[in-house]
Every structure is written in structure tokens, then in C-alpha cells.
């Protein structure tokens, strides 16, 4: 028994070190630039003028491979529905009163900047690194901070869980409707410039055709979905009451 435990520990150590060595080899890819093959050639050469987005990753995610993004969003939607259904019958417990007064005030000062950062990531998804998924995750992180610092009762009182579910469904419907517009125009599902959407000048805020709209839809979906997951898991936790060090009154 003892020997096998040592063996597993050594195996874990070796595995971690091997993966680290592999990662170290990744720096060579930066020095030796290889030649592109397959569809990558077309993407790098033509994506900017075809879609109007200066962020090529965003152009591939929301234009060339938009159907895959829709499937990915559906996966998150299914996960959120399943988790919300699993925990819907469970009893709601009273939440804690949150952390101390200083932490609450400090978070109050930081929250607008986090909101601005998240909105910037979503709205500038076609220009700079980022996009709907990342910005939505920042939104969800903010609601998690609310849950931890102010207590989950406060979070549910300010942002109604029903409204969250509505926002998430609206994001999904918006994504599909934008895709259907392309279908109606006769260019195929989720078509961008081929369906007549103006692509604008590369690098300006109003560019990229459907890409900013799809970014907003995915951001709504992911932000509301992930915070719903966290809230529905946290709301039924049993809170161990400790002696309150300080009590703040509104």
C-alpha cells in the first residue's frame, strides 16, 4: 500500500514535469515561424476585408464558424437549465449578512470599473482581444462578488433570478434571429457580409457587420447563465452563524 502511494506520487510529479517541458518547447514556435496550410491561409489573407473585423479570432468565431459558436452557446444553455432544474426544488436557506463594512464599501467603489471593463470587452470584441464569452464571464464574476460580499439575499433582491433567466433566453433568441436574417436574405444561416450587413471600415467601432451583435448576444447569455449557475448552487448552502464582529446598519 505504501509503495503504490509513492509510485503514484512520483508518477504525478513526472507527468507535471513532462507537461512543463512540453510547454517550454512552445517558445520555439515563436522563433521559427512556419508556413500556413489549409484554411488558415485564406483566413489570414482575406478575413479583414471580408468581415471588417480586425480581430481575426473573433472573425472566425462569429462569422466563418458561427454555427459552432451557436452549438457552444447551446451547451452552456443546457448546463444552466439542468443545474437550475436540479436545485429548483431544494429549500432556500437564509443567507449570511456578508463581510464587514469596509469590504462592502470598497467593493462599491470597484464595481463601476469592473462593469466598464466587462462592457468594453464585449463591445470591442471585434477590434481587440476578447469577445462575448470573456466579457460575460467578467459579468458573472461580478455577481459572484456580490454574492460573497453582500450575501446571496442582497444579490437576489437587486438582480432578480427571473430577470437573469430572461436575459439568457433573450441572448439565445437574438443569436438565432440574427442567423435567420441571413437565411431570409438568401445567403445561408448566420451569413455576415453576404447577407447585406454593412462591414464598415476595418478598425472602427461600427464595423464587422453581425459580429458586434453576436458578441452582445453571447455576452448576455454567458453572463446571465454563469451567474445563474453560481446563484442556484449558493442559495441552498447552510450558513454557519458566527459572532458578528461589527454590525452595519443602512
Amino acid at each position: 500500500m505504501h509503495r503504490s502511494s509513492v509510485f503514484f506520487r512520483l508518477a504525478t510529479l513526472l507527468f507535471c514535469l513532462c507537461l512543463g517541458w512540453w510547454f517550454w518547447k512552445g517558445i520555439e514556435a515563436l522563433e521559427h515561424t512556419g508556413t500556413l496550410t489549409g484554411p488558415a491561409v485564406h483566413y489570414v489573407a482575406r478575413a479583414a476585408e471580408e468581415t471588417g473585423a480586425s480581430n481575426l479570432v473573433s472573425a472566425i468565431l462569429f462569422d466563418y464558424r458561427a454555427l459552432d459558436t451557436l452549438g457552444e452557446a447551446t451547451v452552456i444553455y443546457t448546463a444552466v437549465c439542468g443545474i437550475a432544474m436540479l436545485f429548483s426544488r431544494s429549500k432556500y436557506r437564509k443567507s449570511s449578512t456578508g463581510l464587514s463594512f469596509i469590504v462592502k464599501r470598497g467593493l462599491g467603489f470597484v464595481i463601476p470599473f469592473i462593469l466598464l471593463y466587462a462592457a468594453g470587452i464585449v463591445l470591442m470584441g471585434h477590434l481587440t482581444p476578447g469577445g462575448g464569452f470573456q466579457g460575460g464571464a467578467v459579468f458573472a464574476t461580478m455577481t459572484i462578488l456580490f454574492c460573497i460580499v453582500y450575501g446571496s439575499n442582497f444579490e437576489a433582491a437587486r438582480i432578480n433570478p427571473k430577470i437573469k433567466e430572461f436575459i439568457e433566453s433573450t441572448g439565445a433568441v437574438m443569436f438565432t434571429l440574427i442567423g435567420l436574417v441571413g437565411l431570409i436574405a438568401g445567403a445561408g444561416f448566420l451569413a455576415n457580409s453576404a447577407a447585406g450587413f454593412p462591414t464598415g471600415r476595418v478598425g472602427s467601432v461600427l464595423s464587422g457587420g453581425t459580429i458586434p451583435l453576436l458578441n452582445i448576444a453571447v455576452g448576455m447569455k454567458v453572463g446571465a447563465g454563469l451567474s445563474t449557475i453560481f446563484y442556484s448552487m449558493v442559495k441552498l448552502l447552510e450558513v454557519k452563524y458566527e459572532d458578528a464582529v461589527e454590525v452595519d446598519r443602512p
Binding site: C16, I27, A137
Partner: protein
């Protein structure tokens, strides 16, 4: 500069991964995993994948760590002896 910094990053990544896998204390493992996520995000940014780096930073240090910490706060510490240790 980049090579030596990258070497430090890879070594520290392996170290935090080993600590997260091997340590007995769960809280230390969670925090070590969070540090691992941040270092991985920096490494992705060096390897010129800023989109992946952003996702990695937000998901690993924000969502996963908070979920693990909430789960940790609900568990209770049990004193028991492992069978393989005498």
C-alpha cells in the same frame, strides 16, 4: 529577457501543478490552482494568444476559484489517519 522569464514561468507552472496535486490541505491546493491559472494566462499572452489568456484568467481565477472556495467552506475537517501511513 523573454527566454529566462519563460523558463521561470514554466518551472513555476510545474511547481504549482505538483503542489495542487500532492498537498494534503485542500485550501492550499485551491490557492495553488489559482496561481497556476494566472501563470498560465501570462504564458498564453507571451505565446501570442491574448483571447485564450483572457478566458483563462477570468474563468480560472474568478469562477473556478470562487466555486472551489464556496465548496471548501461547506466541508468539514475530519481527523483520520490514512491507511498507507503508520
Amino acid at each position: 529577457m523573454t527566454i529566462s522569464f519563460y523558463a521561470f514561468l514554466c518551472g513555476f507552472l510545474a511547481l504549482t501543478a505538483v503542489v495542487a496535486a500532492e498537498i494534503e490541505d485542500i485550501l492550499s491546493a485551491v490557492i495553488s490552482l489559482s496561481v497556476f491559472g494566472i501563470l498560465l494566462a501570462i504564458a498564453f499572452a507571451i505565446l501570442q494568444a491574448p483571447d485564450v489568456a483572457l478566458t483563462q484568467a477570468v474563468i480560472n481565477s474568478g469562477l473556478v476559484t470562487s466555486l472551489f472556495l464556496v465548496a471548501y467552506s461547506q466541508t468539514e475537517k475530519q481527523q483520520f489517519r490514512r491507511k498507507d501511513k503508520k
